[in-house]
Symmetry: C2
Subunit: 339 residues, 2 copies
């Protein structure tokens, strides 16, 4: 079955991607010795600082590996496309990022990942490493608010990497880094829309599809069912429907300060993201919500999937504002002092 993908072999996608990233940025990332899929910052661990370990399936770049860097995560394990990494790789990353100050696990709420990270956490504790966990669970359509612990993580986790990463870089202790990560997660809500499916290379054909001219509101980044399939609406209508679900969920209220992320799932062009933002910013303004910082682009993708998501993070206090605005650097996310 033909695919529109530039690859060599479906079984080599993940290893060759990792190999390409390491060749491109040898001073920034390195493999943990003896592992192919456990990667950490080139000079990890950092004395006295909490390590942040993440990971998940491939096919979502910049997530997860792209958020390893200064003021962000410290290490990452890389699974096959849309599959959890192994607990062994997670343990390797954990040991490589721990400086004695403990490790925060920060990843999306998917059953394969939680099972393996929980196993890694138990093994790490046996080796004397303290681990705490924060799960991205920002997708408002994936479960009702009463079952918030069941919700999936999508693009909103980027805010958590940024905020918790800055706290770890500052030298806060594990309890404090965990607390701010939980606070960022709790204050973040997202919703996505899919205009097409995507193809796992090893499968060779789309695991799910959306017909041309249709859309699925709330579809997950691996094709998890959304809330409604219907004709493709306008950008303004899509932005409206998303915010109608996102804003009451926390709820976000007049006078709140927030950061906004408009994310492409892959094929959706930057132009379309700005058209979505054009309306979203108007709606937020009308509701009295102050937009403090904006992220627009490809942050969490599903390979060549067409679609987008909007994520909003309420900035509860000056500390969150400061951490979100702190400098950060990875090959995929560069935020400068003063910007």
């Amino acid at each position: 079955m033909p695919m529109r993908k530039i690859i060599n072999h479906p079984d080599h996608v993940e290893d060759e991607t990792v190999s390409g990233i390491l060749k491109a940025f040898p001073n920034i990332l390195k493999r943990v010795e003896g592992s192919t899929r456990a990667l950490v910052r080139a000079n990890a661990p950092f004395s006295g600082k909490v390590g942040i370990a993440t990971g998940g399936g491939s096919g979502h770049l910049p997530l997860f590996l792209g958020y390893v860097g200064e003021g962000l995560a410290t290490g990452c394990c890389v699974g096959n496309v849309f599959s959890s990494p192994s607990s062994e790789d997670m343990l390797d990353v954990t040991k490589a990022v721990d400086s004695g100050a403990g490790v925060l696990y920060l990843y999306g709420n998917y059953s394969g990942d939680t099972m393996n990270f929980d196993m890694a956490s138990e093994m790490a504790e046996m080796e004397g490493i303290t681990v705490k966990t924060t799960l991205g669970r920002d997708d408002v359509t994936s479960a009702p608010i009463a079952e918030i612990e069941r919700r999936r993580g999508i693009a909103g986790i980027v805010f958590v990497f940024k905020i918790a990463g800055a706290a770890a870089e500052e030298g806060r202790d594990l309890d404090a880094v965990h607390a701010i990560a939980e606070k960022a997660t709790f204050n973040t809500r997202s919703m996505g829309v899919a205009l097409s499916g995507t193809t796992i290379p090893a499968a060779g054909e789309p695991g799910f599809t959306v017909a041309e001219g249709q859309m699925e509101m709330g579809m997950g980044v691996h094709g998890e069912p959304g809330v409604e399939i219907g004709p493709l609406l306008t950008a303004d209508e899509i932005a409206g429907q998303m915010l109608d679900r996102i804003l009451p969920d926390l709820p976000f209220s007049s006078g709140d300060s927030a950061a906004v992320l408009v994310n492409s799932l892959g094929a959706t062009a930057p132009e379309e993201l700005y058209i979505l933002y054009n309306k979203a910013s108007e709606i937020l303004g009308d509701r009295g919500i102050n937009i403090h910082r904006v992220f627009i682009g490809e942050y969490v993708t599903s390979m060549e999937m067409s679609g987008a998501s909007i994520s909003i993070c309420k900035l509860e206090d000056d500390d969150m504002v400061k951490l979100l605005g702190a400098p950060a650097y990875s090959p995929f996310l560069s935020q400068q002092f003063g910007h």
Copy 2:
């Protein structure tokens, strides 16, 4: 005809995109008063510094507007999708970025753009503004080397924005900024491959197509004919064919230092770009070419087109290395000191 695009109306794509960008980054960009499609840095002009004006058709973000920023271009005029901006908008940008030190026009070599920029240049000269022009013409497949002046500009212009922008930011005079822009252009070569077409919103259907399982080597970013249509090759074969054409064209030689850009045309995922780079870096290493700096991601797109390009810029001397490595900031390109 249904499209997989998140828009409101085909005729509003460009204005709503610009509006969204201005709402997202009001402290960084502004409209020239009285114009909707002429945009400049929020605090332009910069006393004593050469202004750099660019522009072209929409549908290529980050190109062109995304390269307006610190250490980059100073202003940009925005055309309709795949259409030249007007000479009036170009003149507006020219006047708004000129501080008396003159203006460099830097854009891609397409007939509509050159006609309008040349007209704007004449009008600017009548108003006492000195203008010089550098054209991106890096696509090796668009004309033979003997007719290099006919070549199209594709993603390689990013190197020229970065190098010339740093020279202008340093305060070099117009002759010097023009000279380094010409040097960067001369030393840059690119080649692309398309795996799909793309749809101009106002047309509603693809202006050109590539069948699934096929590819067109050398196709331009607006669907201009390439050199060969055939079955989709592997990533390693594609990287090999591209470098087989790019490297002899300058030629790049053993011992050269170079910057490499692997660019997605839109739908092609970051993972695939790294798989391409994995092979490209190996080939360059085998040829004795030292990779000094790497750019991998969406730099010059064609909306939702599937495909990629490789651009290589020979770094002839320490000055080019320094300018390419200088800090820069726009909402679409952030390069920090020391990285």
